[in-house]
Symmetry: C2
Amino acid sequence: MREAFQDQLDGIFLDLGAMCAQVEVAVREATSALMTGDSRTAEAVISADAGIDAMRERIEESAFSLLSLQQPVAGDLRVIVSALRMVGELERMGDLSVHVAKVARMRVPYVAVPEEVRPTLQAMASTAEDMVRRVKAVIGSRDVEAAAALNRDDDEMDRLRRISFAQLLSDDWTYGVEPAVDVALLGRYYERIADHAVSIANRVVYVVTGEVPVKS
Amino acid sequence: MREAFQDQLDGIFLDLGAMCAQVEVAVREATSALMTGDSRTAEAVISADAGIDAMRERIEESAFSLLSLQQPVAGDLRVIVSALRMVGELERMGDLSVHVAKVARMRVPYVAVPEEVRPTLQAMASTAEDMVRRVKAVIGSRDVEAAAALNRDDDEMDRLRRISFAQLLSDDWTYGVEPAVDVALLGRYYERIADHAVSIANRVVYVVTGEVPVKS
């Protein structure tokens, strides 16, 4: 019984890792569409989201079946509920990538992000993408140290977001309102992707240690 | 056993309703702070969020205890997992109210929202608040019709968001970048509050009927 439970649980974590890999592609491609103004890439991200949603349903079904058939208690129960929450967060990260792709698509053939603020936004996108890649590894390895390191990257994201606001609110900003609004919302989307990555990492820590990590 | 389960489940739904009432206050007060530039109200919303978070923890513990002690299967299991997700969404709605309050606080003693766009943003805030009030009622009554009606309000929110964008991107917009960015982000926060209200309503439909509603 116990062994069957562990096997099924491992299967769920494998699927979560695979789902996170799809999210990683979505974040990367959405950023590529954004920075190049390429509508085909944007469309690909938008239509690939159905695959991420389907993956969510499949993992949820596995988790419910595990809950129903194995009737876990205490710790095991919380692990599966954590997995269900992780799946919800991964789906949201996919949705946020779609939001980025839609901003890109709306401005095609132009690039939504003015040149001056492009390095900052690219840094936010790269930070978010890197966090998604690392949380994917954390889901696979259940490495508590690596999970804790993600908390620190979140500070980098906050710092970049402040820089982007300073840029678009400075007197030197000559691009007008529309790109400023785009940049502010895009920054929000990347920030939320990063938040979810941290949250998933914390859930992995909880799954391994039984303790909810407190941000240092 | 079955009766004990139902009693505990009813208790969880009562708590969810009470938590939603706290979120309703947060949304209303955050909007009040925003529209009046009153820092005390903004601070009150920000500090009250700890109460919403504490409520979340309490409800989660009840749900886990119900899962562990009663070992529900199939439908009952999904109902409790739905409750756990509702609690997560209510917490997020509280966080979003804090975001609104923080924008208000940042601009004190001024009002972050320029007069021209205030009616539109007030309409978004009122729609969000009304949806929170109605989803609170839905949690209490488990009225499937009332839950379905919330889906339609979401369209109103989309419409208002489009109007606000048209306003801040029009040639008549004379307020510059900062208020435009504020309005775009505030609109996003209210839109997300509304999204969560719809999602909770859909979870109630699922709890009652066993079917996930499809948006008409």
